[in-house]
């Protein structure tokens, strides 16, 4: 009988990832740890927990997450695992619905963390990509500029879809704030 398992899977969409983790919990597999592209689960009562992932602070800004995690713990929310600024929290489903953000303005503030991070990574990659394309046109055969240019341009292109998705979400939230208070 196995009561633990490790699954390798790569997600580019943090909401899909959260949905998948919650689907696993419904089937009795509760997330206990994660890394890049791998997730550890432990067997338990099906549907016992609801999971939420969160970018708990912006990379480059001060890590004040300890205070936040303590605050959540006092509110009955358990930290499953934190890696850098990415964390999974869970709460027992018996306690009712579990959302970290409940109003439009705080949802917007949260999604902005992703928006600015993705845009930043996008432009950095685009910039390095273009520089390397230019260098490549001057370089000799053995240069790696074409490879680097390809990788960075690829990363930039891969980010277009999530960026558009987040922009659409931001627009919807902003529209809502024009009629509603929160």
């Amino acid at each position: 009988m196995r009561d633990k398992k490790l699954i390798f899977r790569l997600f580019f969409d943090y909401e899909k990832e959260e949905e998948w983790v919650n689907g696993m919990a419904k089937n009795g597999w509760h997330l206990t740890s994660f890394g890049i592209g791998n997730y550890a689960f432990e067997k338990g009562a099906p549907g016992k927990y609801i999971y939420r992932n969160e970018m708990i602070y912006e990379l480059g800004s001060k890590d004040d997450s300890k205070e936040y995690i303590d605050f959540l713990r006092d509110s009955g929310i358990e930290l499953v695992k934190k890696k850098l600024n990415w964390a999974y929290f869970r709460k027992e489903a018996a306690d009712g619905p579990f959302e970290l953000y409940s109003d439009t303005s705080s949802k917007l503030a949260y999604i902005n963390r992703f928006h600015y991070l993705f845009l930043f990574v996008f432009f950095i990659n685009l910039f390095i990509g273009i520089i390397n394309f230019i260098l490549y046109s001057y370089a000799n055969k053995e240069s790696i500029n074409d490879f680097v240019a390809g990788v960075n341009t690829g990363v930039a292109i891969a980010l277009i879809y999530p960026i558009l998705k987040i922009m659409k979400k931001r627009r919807n939230l902003k529209n809502q704030l024009e009629i509603f208070n929160d």
Partner: protein, 105 residues
């Protein structure tokens, strides 16, 4: 009223009301849910951000207790904000009732 503020969000309104007595974060969530019969369920992330902002503005303060959990309490400035919000809400309510002929359904 000397100072005018934009309307408070429902969350901030209920956080301030909850803090007429010292409470910690979870206490605010519970009381708000109770007062609104389950309609307003404040998310812990939302409330954490709001508490930080309200502390910065001086509308609430940390209330030191021997307990492990951090408790907060509304300040005089915070109470003024609540008073002016209540007047604003009364105006909204009175105008609504006057024009529609009351809250009849």
């Amino acid at each position: 009223m000397s100072q005018e503020h934009p309307p408070l969000t429902e969350g901030v309104y209920y956080i301030l009301l909850s803090l007429y007595e010292p409470r910690h974060g979870y206490g605010i969530i519970q009381l708000t849910e109770e007062m609104t019969a389950g309609r307003v369920k404040l998310g812990a992330g939302t409330i954490y951000g709001a508490i930080k902002t309200l502390l910065d503005r001086g509308w609430i303060q940390t209330f030191e207790d021997d307990g492990r959990k951090k408790e907060y309490l509304i300040t005089e400035d915070g109470k003024k904000i609540i008073q002016s919000e209540i007047s604003r809400l009364r105006e909204l309510f009175d105008n609504g009732v006057r024009i529609t002929g009351g809250g009849k359904f």
